[in-house]
C-alpha cells in the first residue's frame, strides 16, 4: 500500500533543491549583510573600475551559494536501518545522525510560505531524554511526509508493543480523527481582542528597541542627531507626547495581538485520534503537531475576566522536554470553552466528570509576604533616593496601597486540589491559571521552610515536572506539606506506570 520504501536511502523531493538554494542564500546573506549594507550606501563613492570587480565577486558568490545548495541536496540521505531512523548529510564534513525508533517522541510537519509555493513540507523528528536530538528534513513532498510519519509511527508502535504488553492509557477504541475544536475567524477575533495587550505592547517595544539598537551600531551618527531633535521635542511637549505615545503603543500592541493571533491560529483544528492529539494551524507558516497523551506532563489553562465572561480559555499542553523552559514544547490551544476543556481533560486524565477533590487554600501570611515583596520592596528604593520629590513619593505611596488588595486577590486565587491520582494548582492575580497533572508524573519533590514559615508552622512544596514546569504550593500548613510530600513520593515509587 505504501509506495515509498524507506529502507533504502532516499533523497528529498527534487524541487527541494530550490529550497536548499534559498536556505543557502540566507546563510550567506546572514554572514555578509553588514558588508552589503556598507556597499549599498557608499555606492556613489566607488570608482568605475572597481565596480567590475564587485560584480565579479557577486557572481562568484552566487555561484558558491548554488554549489553549496546543490552539494548539500545531493548529499542528503534518509532511511530506516536496524530499527533506527538515519540521516546522512554534508559534503565537506560528513554527518550521520540516527535515532532509535522507540526513542522517537513526536513527528511534526510544518510548512512555511516558500514551502507552500514549492509544495514541500518540513518533517521534524523529535526525541526526548538525556540525549536531546532532533532531525529535520526540510523538503519532502506532502505524500512522502505523511508516509514517513505513518511508517515511523507504526514501527515505533510495534517496537513498543513488543517491549510491553500493557497499554492501559491508550485503550480507547480506535476512533477516527474527530476534531474537538475548529476556530472560525470570529473566534480568532475574540481570542485576539481578549489577549493581554500590555504584554503585546511590551513585545512590540522590545522588538522595536532591539531593531533600533541594531541600526544604531551602523548609523550611530545619524541616530544621535535625530534622537537629539526628538529629545528636545519631547521635553517641549512632554505630557501630551507621553499620553499619545502610550496610546499609540497600546494600539500597536492591540493590532499586534490580533495579527499575531491570525498568523498563528488561522484555520486552527485540534483533533484526537487513537490516543493522540493532532493540531494544525497557521496562515503563512502552517504547522502540524502530533502528541500522544502519554507524553503530556502538565495541562494548564488560563482565563482572564473578559475571557471568563465569554467562556473561553487558553489550554496549554506541556510535553516532556530535556531542554529547560523550552516554550516550543508547550502547545497552546486558544479559544477553548468549558465543554472543550472537559473533553481534553477527559481524554488525558481518563476521567468522566470532574473528580472529587480536596481543596486547600493558602495561609494569609502569603499575601503579606507578596505585599512586602511587590509593594514595599519595589516602591521604597526610589522613595528613599528621591525623598524630596512629591511626585515620586505619591506614586510610591499609590503603588504600595494598590498592591494591598492585589496581594489578597492573589492569595484568594492561590490554592491546590489533590486526590488519589491527580494534583492541580491555581494561581494568578487578574488572570487565573490552573495546572493539572498526574501525581505519578512528578520528577522530584522539594519541601522548603523559611524561619518565618517555621514560626507559623507553614511550608512550601515544589513539584518538578519533565515539561520544565514547576508546580508550587506556597505557605500551606507544615503537616499538610509533609503529608503531600510523603504521599506523592509513595505515588511515584509504588507504581511502574511510564511517565513518558
Amino acid at each position: 500500500m505504501n509506495k515509498f520504501d524507506f529502507t533504502v536511502p532516499g533523497r528529498q523531493s527534487a524541487i527541494g533543491i530550490l529550497l536548499f538554494f534559498a536556505l543557502s542564500a540566507r546563510k550567506f546573506f546572514k554572514a555578509l549583510w553588514p558588508i552589503l549594507l556598507v556597499y549599498l550606501f557608499k555606492n556613489n563613492s566607488i570608482p568605475e573600475d572597481k565596480r567590475f570587480w564587485i560584480i565579479v565577486a557577486g557572481v562568484f558568490l552566487l555561484f558558491l551559494v548554488m554549489l553549496n545548495a546543490t552539494l548539500s541536496f545531493f548529499n542528503f540521505w534518509f532511511y530506516i536501518e536496524n530499527n533506527e531512523f538515519v540521516v546522512r548529510k554534508g559534503y565537506l564534513k560528513k554527518v550521520k545522525l540516527s535515532i532509535p525508533l522507540d526513542r522517537i517522541q513526536t513527528i511534526n510537519i510544518k510548512q512555511n510560505l516558500l514551502q507552500q509555493l514549492l509544495k514541500v513540507v518540513t518533517v521534524e523528528v523529535d526525541t526526548a531524554g538525556s540525549a536531546q536530538r532532533e532531525l529535520k528534513l526540510v523538503a519532502l513532498t506532502n505524500e512522502q511526509a505523511i508516509a514517513l510519519q505513518l511508517v515511523l509511527g507504526k514501527e515505533k508502535q510495534q517496537l513498543n508493543k513488543l517491549k510491553s504488553e500493557d497499554e492501559e492509557e491508550n485503550s480507547q477504541d480506535s476512533e477516527k480523527s474527530a476534531p474537538i475544536i475548529r476556530l472560525t475567524p470570529t473566534d480568532l477575533i475574540k481570542v485576539g481582542i481578549s489577549e493581554n495587550h500590555l504584554r503585546s505592547s511590551l513585545i512590540v517595544m522590545a522588538v522595536v528597541g532591539g531593531f533600533i539598537n541594531q541600526i544604531q551600531d551602523y548609523f550611530t551618527d545619524q541616530i544621535e542627531v535625530t534622537s537629539e531633535e526628538v529629545g528636545n521635542f519631547i521635553i517641549a511637549q512632554s505630557v501630551a507626547i507621553i499620553i499619545s505615545l502610550s496610546i499609540a503603543v497600546l494600539l500597536i500592541g492591540f493590532l499586534f495581538s490580533i495579527i499575531n493571533t491570525f498568523l498563528k491560529y488561522y484555520d486552527f483544528t485540534f483533533a484526537r485520534q487513537d490516543g493522540e492529539f493532532t493540531i494544525k494551524s497557521g496562515l503563512l507558516t502552517k504547522k502540524g503537531v502530533t502528541i500522544p497523551y502519554s507524553k503530556i506532563q502538565v495541562v494548564s489553562w488560563v482565563t482572564n475576566p473578559i475571557r471568563n465572561w465569554m467562556d473561553f480559555s487558553t489550554v496549554t499542553l506541556t510535553e516532556a522536554s530535556s531542554k529547560e523552559n523550552d516554550q516550543k514544547k508547550a502547545i497552546n490551544i486558544p479559544g477553548c470553552n468549558s465543554r472543550n476543556r472537559a473533553v481534553i481533560s477527559r481524554e488525558i486524565f481518563n476521567i468522566k466528570d470532574e473528580p472529587v477533590w480536596d481543596k486547600h487554600f493558602t495561609h494569609k501570611s502569603y499575601a503579606w509576604k507578596l505585599w512586602l515583596l511587590r509593594g514595599w520592596l519595589i516602591a521604597m528604593p526610589p522613595a528613599i533616593i528621591w525623598y524630596d520629590n512629591i511626585i515620586v513619593l505619591s506614586v510610591a505611596a499609590f503603588w504600595i496601597v494598590l498592591n494591598l488588595p492585589l496581594s489578597f486577590l492573589t492569595l484568594k486565587k492561590r490554592y491546590f486540589r489533590v486526590n488519589k491520582d491527580y494534583i492541580e494548582n491555581s494561581r494568578g492575580t487578574i488572570e487565573q491559571k490552573w495546572s493539572r497533572m498526574y501525581g505519578f508524573k512528578v520528577q522530584s519533590v522539594k519541601l522548603k521552610q523559611s524561619i518565618f514559615q517555621r514560626r507559623k508552622g507553614l511550608a512550601t512544596i515544589k513539584l518538578y515536572t519533565a515539561g520544565g514546569k514547576i508546580l508550587t504550593m506556597p505557605f500551606i500548613a507544615e503537616s499538610l506539606a509533609r503529608e503531600l510530600y510523603n504521599y506523592l513520593l509513595f505515588n511515584v515509587e509504588s507504581g511502574n506506570r511510564k511517565w513518558m
Binding site: N325, R482, N486, Y487, M500
Partner: protein, 171 residues
C-alpha cells in the same frame, strides 16, 4: 486527612522526618570556610589599599567599612557552621533525599525511578581535601537536580554504582 476515598492511610506512609540523615564529611566544612575566606580577601585587599595608600575616605568612614566587612564575614561564617549541621543526605529503599539550609530549610527527594543519570565531580580544591560531589540528574530540569557535596571519593563511587544499578533495574 489529605485524601478522601483512599485505601492508603497517609499516616502509614514512610516519613522522612523520623529517619536520620547522614552528615557530610568535616573536610567539606573546611573547604567552604577556606573558599569564603578567600572570597572575602578581595574586598579586604581593596579596603587595605584605601586605608594605607589613599586619603579620599575619612578615618571614621573607613572604620565603619572595616566593621561592616568583618561582621559580614563573621555572620556568613556563623551561617556556614550552623548550616553545615543541617546538611545531610539519606538513601532510602526507593528514593534519595538531601536536606540543607538554616534560614530557608529545604529537603529535596528524587525517586530512583525518576533518575536520568548521575555523575561524580571533583574540583581542584576538592581534590586537595579528598572529597567528591555526586550529581543526580532528573528530567525535571536543573532546579530539581540533586548535588551532594562533601563525600569521600570511595563513598561517592559506591553511591553512584548503587544508583546506576537501581536505575537500570527500572527500565
Amino acid at each position: 486527612m489529605l485524601f478522601e476515598n483512599n485505601s492508603i492511610e497517609t499516616s502509614d506512609l514512610p516519613r522522612f522526618e523520623e529517619q536520620s540523615f547522614q552528615p557530610l564529611k568535616k573536610a567539606y566544612l573546611k573547604l567552604i570556610v577556606i573558599q569564603w575566606t578567600v572570597f572575602i580577601l578581595f574586598p579586604a585587599a581593596g579596603l587595605i589599599y584605601l586605608s594605607f595608600f589613599n586619603d579620599t575616605l575619612t578615618d571614621s568612614l573607613l572604620i565603619y567599612f572595616w566593621i561592616g566587612l568583618a561582621s559580614f564575614y563573621l555572620i556568613r561564617l556563623l551561617i556556614i557552621f550552623a548550616g553545615f549541621k543541617r546538611k545531610g543526605f539519606l538513601l532510602r529503599e526507593h528514593d534519595i533525599l538531601y536536606r540543607s539550609g538554616i534560614i530557608v530549610f529545604k529537603v529535596t527527594a528524587v525517586p530512583y525511578n525518576r533518575i536520568q543519570h548521575s555523575e561524580i565531580r571533583q574540583g581542584f580544591l576538592s581534590r586537595l581535601f579528598r572529597i567528591s560531589k555526586l550529581k543526580i540528574f532528573t528530567a525535571g530540569g536543573a532546579a530539581s537536580d540533586l548535588a551532594i557535596n562533601g563525600l569521600v571519593p570511595d563513598e561517592a563511587q559506591r553511591m553512584k554504582d548503587f544508583l546506576s544499578k537501581t536505575v537500570s533495574s527500572y527500565e
